[in-house]
Amino acid sequence: MVARLLSQLLEIPLVGVNHCIAHIEIGRQMCKIDDPLTLYVSGGNTIVSAFESERYQIFGETLDLAIGNMIDSFAREADIPHPGGPKIEKLARDSSKYLELPYTVKGMDLSFSGLYTAAKRLLKSKKFGIEYNLNDIAYSLQETAFAMLTEVTERALAHTGKKEVLLTGGVAANKKLQEMINYISDEHNARFEVVPLRYAGDNGVMIAWTAILKYLSKGEDTIEDTIIKPKERMDNIEVPWRN
C-alpha cells in the first residue's frame, strides 16, 4: 500500500516482488552464490527449492506447520516469551537425553503437526520435571525436526545435482541446523552458505534487491499487477532475470 502510494506521489516505478523469491535472491547476492538448492525455513515457510525449467521449483515443503511456527508455538506452551527459537536452541544445548518423538517425511515433503502435539504432550505429562526436563524436550524437538529437514534437503540435493546449498529464513540462525545441512552439503561436494542473519530473516533489502533485478530485466509493473496475492506460489512466478 505504502509502496503504491509512494510510487504515485514521487512518480517512480513500482515493482511487485514475491517474498520467497526475494529470500533466495538476497541470499545469492550476499553469499556470492550462483545456482543453489535453497532450504528456506521461517515462521511462515518451510521450502526446499531450486531453479529449474525457468522457475524456482518447489521440491519439498511442509504439509502443515512451518518449522519456525512449530518451534515458536511450542515455546509459547512452555511459557517462553517470543521469539522462542533462540531460547529453545539454548535450552537444547544443555541436554543429550533424547525423548522419542514422531518423525514424518513423505517423499520430499514434511509434516510437523504430529511432532508439535507430541512435544506439547511431554510438557503436560506428569513425568515432566521428574523423568525429564524442558532442556530434554527442546533437544529432542530440535534433533527430530532438523533431521527431517536435513533428510529432505539431501534428497533434493541428490535429485537436482546442484553444487551449492543455501540456508535462509529466520530459523537459518540456528547453529544446530547449520551444522546438519553443512554435513550433507560436504557429503555431496556442494558449497554450503548461510545467509547473514540480518538478511536471512524478513528484511526490506531483499525486496528492494529483487525489485531491482526484476526492473532491469522486465521493467515496472502497473498498479493492477501489484495486487497482493498471499497464496501465490513461487513456482508460479516468472524469473526473467535468470533466463
Binding site: S53, Y98, E100, G107, A147, R155, A158, M180, N236
Partner: protein, 224 residues
C-alpha cells in the same frame, strides 16, 4: 552375511539406500542397504532405517501374494537394515519406451495398470511409480521394484497422487509417448476393478486431474 565382499559390487547408490549385487545360497540377489546418516542422532537413525526396512520388506512379501511381479524377499536384517531380494535381470521401462513398437508398449503399460490397480484395491500405495521403477525381463515380464516409499492407504487422494506421479514422469520424460502409455495404463487400471468398485476407480482417475489444477502443479503442466 558378508557385506564386505558384496560391497565391491555396488549396483546403484541412491540418497537413502545402496544396492549391492551378490550371491545368496547360489542365487543371484540384490542387497538393499539403507545407509546410516551421521547428521542425525543414532537413536533416530536406527529407528528410521529399521522401520523403513521392515515396512518395505513386509510390503514386498504381501504384494507378491497378490500375484504381482515383485522381487522375492529372502532375508531381512532390520538391525543392519538390509533386505536381501531376488535379482531381477532386465531393463528399465524408461530405457525401452522410445525403441519398443507401439503394441508392445501398450501391453506393458496395461500390465502396469493392472498391477497398480490390484495394489490400490488392497490398500497399498507404491509411492514412487516412475518408469525407472518398472523392469522388463528378457522373457518380457513386467516387474515393479523399489517399494522404499510404500505406504498403506484406502484414501482416494493417496491413490490419485500415486497415479499422478506416473503421469508427470510420462509427460516430462516421455512426452511423445505419454498419450499412448497413459491410456494403456488407465485401461489396465480400470480392468481390475469390478462393477461394485468401478465407481471408486473413476473417482480416483478423476481426482488425478483435480490434483493438477491445484496451484502446485498447474503451471508445470501448462508449460509442457
Amino acid at each position: 552375511m558378508n557385506l564386505e565382499i558384496e560391497k565391491k559390487k555396488i549396483f546403484k547408490k541412491g540418497a537413502e539406500a545402496s544396492l549391492y549385487y551378490g550371491k545368496w545360497f547360489n542365487k543371484d540377489v540384490i542387497f538393499k542397504y539403507r545407509i546410516s546418516k551421521k547428521y542425525r542422532l543414532d537413536i533416530i537413525d536406527k529407528k528410521i532405517r529399521n522401520s523403513r526396512t521392515l515396512n518395505e520388506a513386509r510390503a514386498l512379501i504381501k504384494i507378491k501374494n497378490y500375484g504381482i511381479n515383485v522381487p522375492c524377499v529372502y532375508e531381512i536384517d532390520p538391525e543392519e537394515s538390509i533386505i536381501t531380494m531376488d535379482y531381477i535381470p532386465g531393463e528399465k521401462l524408461k530405457d525401452l519406451i522410445s525403441i519398443l513398437d507401439i503394441q508392445k508398449l501398450e501391453d506393458y503399460f496395461k500390465k502396469v495398470g493392472i498391477f497398480i490397480g490390484i495394489l490400490h484395491q488392497n490398500g497399498h500405495i507404491h509411492g514412487d511409480i516412475t518408469t525407472s521403477n518398472i523392469l522388463i525381463t528378457p522373457n518380457k515380464e513386467v516387474f515393479l521394484i523399489d517399494f522404499g516409499l510404500h505406504d498403506y492407504s484406502d484414501n482416494i487422494e493417496d491413490k490419485s497422487v500415486d497415479i499422478h506421479l506416473l503421469k508427470r514422469v510420462l509427460i516430462s520424460s516421455h512426452g511423445d509417448y505419454y498419450k499412448i502409455c497413459f491410456k494403456a495404463f488407465l485401461e489396465g487400471y480400470r480392468d481390475c476393478y469390478n462393477e461394485s468398485s468401478i465407481e471408486e476407480c473413476e473417482s480416483i482417475i478423476l481426482n488425478v486431474d483435480v490434483i493438477e489444477t491445484r496451484g502446485r502443479y498447474i503451471k508445470k503442466e501448462e508449460r509442457l
